[in-house]
Symmetry: C2
Subunit: 178 residues, 2 copies
């Protein structure tokens, strides 16, 4: 049954009665997705969704690079790499993109979006102030949609697809006007 | 080449030169993972990692339930379901767990962690003030590790596994003392 109140949430099976003091200061920092072509992914996440690249780390011998993106104002982000590493590790909602060198030269999809078998990861979600305006802008930009606002029974959410085909849900906090 | 400064980051191929004003107010809100058994997953995320259940929504006809978890103080979280929905949609770093009813009765793994073929999603990450203390506590709790601090070449990070086998990286912002 949908939990109607905070008291209902505390009664859900499995939920710990109190938060262990040993978890104080824990932060849900990031989600990592592998991407075929960082040029295409960085263009998509920065230009279409407004993310900023906050860190780039290359592992030349192991032949991969990591790109850390945040969707936030960067006024307090430090300049040097080590200071940015620490700053970034304290943030919530970081997106880490992993590029295994060479995949960008492969033809066709390299990675699995998790929404066909074998399933697992489903999507990431970006909340926007006005989901209709956001969808209209992205349609005009040629962004592919998995589900537009008018498709299906859930008319207040949409799903777009990133360059690897990962699904990105778009929602708005307030109810949509009729 | 690893970006040493903020100026270096702006030069990375694909990065948009300026943030489009149309993306103002966009928030990287959540990451969704499918889980076999919500009882086991809620126990793990609340007891081991300190997450709080912030919303539970059931879709009886479509036979699935959604669980939204946050790793934050909940002092300002509203009581009613609709007010919580709006509050939650403005947060960064929410974890959404999807339970397709009936999977909890299946034997063995139901979902794919993304780290064997076909690969895609890699992991989520929780940042902690003291990664050695956090790992010692989790080892004592019997949490399975994909990689302990002492395994491999990266001695400052560990990976634990959630009840579905999804990888959770553990990091600490500050350098580890020798």
């Amino acid at each position: 049954m949908t939990a109607q109140t905070r008291a209902d949430l505390a009664e859900v099976a499995g939920v710990a009665p109190i938060r262990d003091a040993a978890t104080a200061g824990f932060v849900f920092n990031h989600t990592m997705l592998r991407v075929r072509d960082p040029h295409a992914s960085l263009d998509f996440y920065t230009r279409v969704l407004g993310f900023s690249l906050a860190r780039k780390v290359d592992f030349e011998q192991a032949k991969f690079s990591l790109y850390f993106l945040v969707l936030a104002e960067l006024d307090d982000m430090p300049d040097g790499d080590e200071a940015r590493r620490e700053w970034l590790a304290r943030q919530r909602g970081v997106l880490e993109l992993t590029h295994n060198h060479g995949t960008e030269a492969q033809v066709g999809p390299v990675y699995h979006d998790g929404n066909s078998e074998p399933r697992g990861f489903g999507h990431i979600c970006v909340s926007v102030p006005d989901v209709r305006a956001a969808c209209a802008r992205m349609e005009a930009m040629g962004v592919p949609f998995q589900k537009t606002l008018s498709q299906g029974s859930m008319r207040s959410i949409a799903f777009i697809k990133d360059p690897d085909g990962y699904w990105i849900e778009l929602i708005q906090p307030t109810p949509l006007a009729d």
